[in-house]
């Protein structure tokens, strides 16, 4: 189908984006890469009088490396993240997660900010942001505020952004000088399809090899990305050799209530999570043990 008619605004600054959001309220939507929004418009699942196209806004399309963080502009395309030397070197898990998103034709248009703000529970980036403790730089009429990933995702396609706010950048802490291993895995029927189940792990070791930091986040497990806080607590403080990771993963998966639909039953998804959680935990530990940046 064709989209319903709309007007386009092409602001060139973040302030102009905010002004347009204030003016049009819920009649307007920001258009970034459009790889989720345009299908929704085409299927008439959504309809807006005004699209605020952010392609000409200054400062949204760069990847910057600071001492301990990478700041990624919200309009950076997924294919640029996949190819970025800075990201491949300092945060390879983000490049790995990107390769799992849709198809390369989609990633050539889709943006990191668009995916995060769309907040599809089956999407990769929200779970990566949650596991890695990313923060969201958001600008509205009252100025700029920073929202931690843990407070950003509120449910199906719902975030803490208000109608008059725009996501400007995402800040990812990078584990420079620490023994940290990170990984992401998912199961989809076909490469590029929505994940039936997915998991991200980031595990840090101290000089003796004991686990000092654990973050495990799941996607397609609930209405928003989930942290496995109980399993994280069970890992932290212990030597990897002393842990029964398959048993801990089975316990964590048993507590999940994933979707139950024609793509996969809840039992099947729990089965997938049980193995995915064990796999990402084991691989993150191995990567931390092999980390050479310390």
């Amino acid at each position: 189908m064709k989209c319903a008619p709309f007007r386009v605004e092409l602001p060139s600054t973040v302030d102009e984006v905010v002004a347009a959001l204030v003016e049009h309220g819920e009649d307007a939507k920001i258009l970034a890469g459009g790889q989720s929004l345009i299908p929704m418009l085409a299927m008439r699942l959504a309809r807006f009088d005004v699209l605020i196209d952010v392609h000409h806004v200054d400062g949204l399309a760069s990847i910057q490396l600071d001492q301990n963080t990478i700041r990624i502009g919200s309009r950076v395309r997924q294919s640029e993240i996949e190819r970025s030397d800075v990201i491949k070197r300092h945060l390879p898990v983000l490049a790995e997660a990107t390769a799992l998103i849709g198809h390369f034709q989609i990633r050539n248009r889709g943006t990191i900010g668009g995916s995060l703000v769309h907040a599809d529970p089956a999407a990769e980036y929200p779970a990566v942001a949650l596991a890695l403790g990313a923060t969201f730089e958001v600008t509205g009429p009252a100025g700029t505020r920073v929202i931690p990933a843990a407070d950003f995702f509120l449910g199906y396609w719902t975030t803490a952004l208000t109608d008059d706010e725009v996501l400007v950048a995402i800040h990812f802490p990078i584990p420079e000088g620490k023994r940290v291993g990170m990984t992401v895995k998912e199961v989809a029927r076909r490469h590029g399809d929505f994940a039936l189940a997915g998991a991200v792990a980031s595990i840090g070791l101290d000089p003796s090899g004991a686990i000092v930091e654990t973050a495990i986040a799941l996607f397609s497990a609930a209405d928003q990305p989930l942290r496995l806080t109980e399993m994280e607590a069970a890992l932290t403080g212990h030597s990897p050799d002393s842990l029964d990771i398959p048993a801990l993963s089975a316990a964590a998966a048993a507590g999940l209530a994933p979707g139950d639909d024609l793509h996969g039953s809840a039992d099947f998804r729990r089965h997938l999570f049980r193995h995915l959680i064990a796999d990402v935990a084991a691989e993150a530990i191995t990567r931390a043990q092999e980390a050479t940046n310390v």
């Binding site: 064709k2 386009v8 459009g34 345009i38 299908p39 699209l51 392609h55 050539n108 076909r190």
Partner: protein, 166 residues
């Protein structure tokens, strides 16, 4: 109503000036305003890949991009692949050789995806080819011959670039 906007498109090296509604997708503008009907419209929501074209050398779904957004870009479609004398592009020639098409509806999208894929990686593994083509659907299900066509095209393109460097 939304007002028409004037858009300048460069398609296969030719300039076009079109007046379109903001909601008009790039594929509709190519077909209806540029009369380039080689690019096909399948699902119209980004799933089937039939409308794949190259925008600034990157493969994109032209149904998931509005025509006004293509202002200032360089677009390549299936019409822009063969030489002026009709000599087929190596990917097109490989499709003919391998019988990589049946009804042909999905073919323009597959061919453009493969051109982009081989441009970036001249010697993809079978796994990389399958992943790269996972975003294009063939409802005749003639996938095996399409995969063969990719192998043939990759070999031709490698041989050509080797010759060019000699």
């Amino acid at each position: 109503m939304s007002e028409d906007v004037e858009v300048r498109l460069t398609v296969n090296g030719d300039g076009y000036r079109v007046r379109v509604e903001p909601r008009k997708t790039l594929v509709d503008a190519l077909r209806e305003d540029c009369n380039l009907t080689g690019t096909h419209i399948g699902c119209e929501h980004g799933v089937c890949g039939a409308c794949t074209v190259l925008v600034d050398d990157r493969a994109v779904r032209s149904c998931l991009m509005f025509a006004y957004q293509a202002e200032g870009t360089s677009i390549r479609t299936i019409e822009g692949l063969a030489d002026a004398d009709g000599t087929l592009h190596p990917v097109q020639a490989a499709f003919r050789e391998a019988h990589g098409l049946q009804c042909g509806f999905c073919t323009p999208g597959f061919v453009m995806s493969i051109v982009a894929l081989l441009d970036e990686n001249g010697a993809p593994t079978p796994q990389e080819v399958r992943e790269g083509l996972s975003g294009n659907l063939c409802r005749c299900t003639g996938y095996q011959t399409i995969l063969e066509a990719v192998d043939i095209a990759a070999a031709t393109l490698r041989a050509t670039s080797l010759e060019a460097t000699r």
